[in-house]
């Protein structure tokens, strides 16, 4: 087995040994769905705008899964690896330490997909909601959301001075993004200028495009574009500023 596949296998094992990450990915999104989704199901249709859309909650749950992996787990693990000189140690071997970063992204990505599938199945059967209708658009929106949020996570990992700092920057960024996505206040009740920003914010655009595809519509191109641009920008800056020690 070559070094990269070995690294991925080991990182995957380490991920699965971390109960907190498993909870974030597989239990929390579904739990939130059930807590907020079940009461809503019986309520009268045609209530307040964004939150009344059937696909809003499941899309938010998926965005939550990706967001927590990208903004909590990834920067924290990379911060620890740098602080404990794991990356430095790897630099003394024939293997490029960049491969460990690749392995981390691959593992988190795989876990994100697995978490999304579990959540989607949960939504389908526990909440008796339809499966995603526009599958190609759904996959595209999901992947762009992943790319965008992971790029932000990598940028945090690159810029955070310590693992502890990375652990606080992630959540400090995550909750405002969640707010902009309309998790608490529906975006149609926000001031127009804020809603405008929110539409193109990483989680906002992810939730909207996934929700649209789930409902069978075509996601808005400007929002997909916003995700792609953020993904590229974040990755370039992360590569530029990443410190190995």
């Amino acid at each position: 087995m070559n070094a990269l596949s070995k690294l991925i296998a080991v990182e995957a094992k380490l991920f699965l040994r971390e109960p907190v990450s498993l909870f974030f990915v597989f239990a929390l999104p579904l739990g939130l769905m059930l807590v907020f989704g079940l009461p809503q199901r019986g309520a009268t249709e045609g209530g307040a705008g964004q939150h009344a859309e059937l696909t809003f909650l499941p899309s938010l749950a998926l965005a939550l899964t990706i967001g927590m992996l990208a903004l909590f787990t990834l920067p924290m693990v990379l911060g620890i690896y740098r602080e404990r000189r794991v990356l430095r140690r790897l630099a003394t071997t024939p293997v490029n330490p960049g491969l460990l970063l690749v392995a981390q992204v691959v593992v988190n990505l795989a876990m994100g997909v697995a978490g999304a599938v579990v959540t989607a199945i949960g939504v389908r059967f526990l909440l008796e909601q339809p499966a995603p209708a526009n599958v190609p658009a759904f996959v595209l929106a999901f992947l762009l959301g992943v790319a965008c949020l992971f790029a932000i996570g990598l940028l945090i990992a690159a810029l955070a001075p310590s693992a502890r700092a990375a652990q606080s920057i992630g959540p400090a960024l995550f909750f405002p993004l969640l707010f902009l996505a309309g998790a608490w206040l529906p975006r149609d009740q926000m001031p127009a200028w804020l809603a405008r920003i929110a539409d193109y914010s990483p989680l906002g655009a992810t939730v909207d495009t996934i929700a649209a595809a789930w409902a069978g519509d075509t996601p808005a191109w400007p929002q997909l574009l916003a995700l792609a641009v953020t993904a590229v920008l974040g990755s370039v800056l992360a590569t530029r500023f990443f410190r190995w020690e």
């Binding site: 040994r17 620890i80 000189r85 794991v86 140690r89 003394t92 024939p94």
Partner: protein
Amino acid sequence: MPVIEVEHLHKRYGDKIAVDDVSFTVEQGEIFGVLGPNGAGKTTTVECVQGLRRADGGTVRVLGLDPIRDRAEVRQRVGAQLQESQLPDKLRVREALDLYRSFYRQRADIDELLADLGLTDQRNTAFHKLSGGQKQRLSVALALVGRPEIAILDELTTGLDPQGRRDTWDLVERIRDRGVTVLLVTHFMEEAERLCDRLAIIDTGRVVAIDTPSGLLSRVGTEHRVHFRALDAVDDALLAALPGVTGVRRTGDEITVTGPEEVLQTLLATLAEQKVRYAGLRVEQPTLDDAFVSLTGRAARTTTSPSTDERPS
């Protein structure tokens, strides 16, 4: 045949000169020590040898290769143990070895390595459950898992208890017995004296001396130290003026007179003549510590309680 050649190595971080001018060669099959106080530039020197840092001046050759330009080849053939490097908490001993082994062309037998390093019982133990000594041994095992020709061991015994330290020394000798050349970085005199065939003493980025431990001792000559407590007043200047005396120092109420072995006789005669009574007399023979002090002109700060961290930045 030299396996490591360092010539006029110079390295600075911004305005701070970490390594001013360091040259030495390491012969195949020896244990070569790089000894010096914290901040002397030892770690930076070996990091340049490993190709982890690019030298600002001078040349470094490892197995005839340039560690920066031929880094892939050098890394295949040089195993390293880094100061204070750790592994992920939940990674198990055998998994770590198996992972690192996959990076190399030449691969050591893991079970044999585990047995050699006394880690067989810990093979399935997670990294964070290992003791300090076990972590250190694992770190050495990782440095050896690619069957290197050279092993670079940086501050190997820092933080270990005396027993762990002695076990680790045995281990280093066994590594050399396998035919591996060892470059050992330490600020610990006893360790250097016990293990090294030859050593370079580095202070403030320069090589002060390169010699065998006994060669270094002979350089400080026959310098002995006589310690005693004077029970009556005695003039330091008078003691310092005695023939052969090279130094008089007071620490609390203890007086230390240094000089060749004959100084003892002269000193005792003088004390009797001056009717100075004394107590707690003892004579110390020269050690590597003394060699260090006389070569660098200052005390080795950390011989008894090794601290950590001499990394720059």
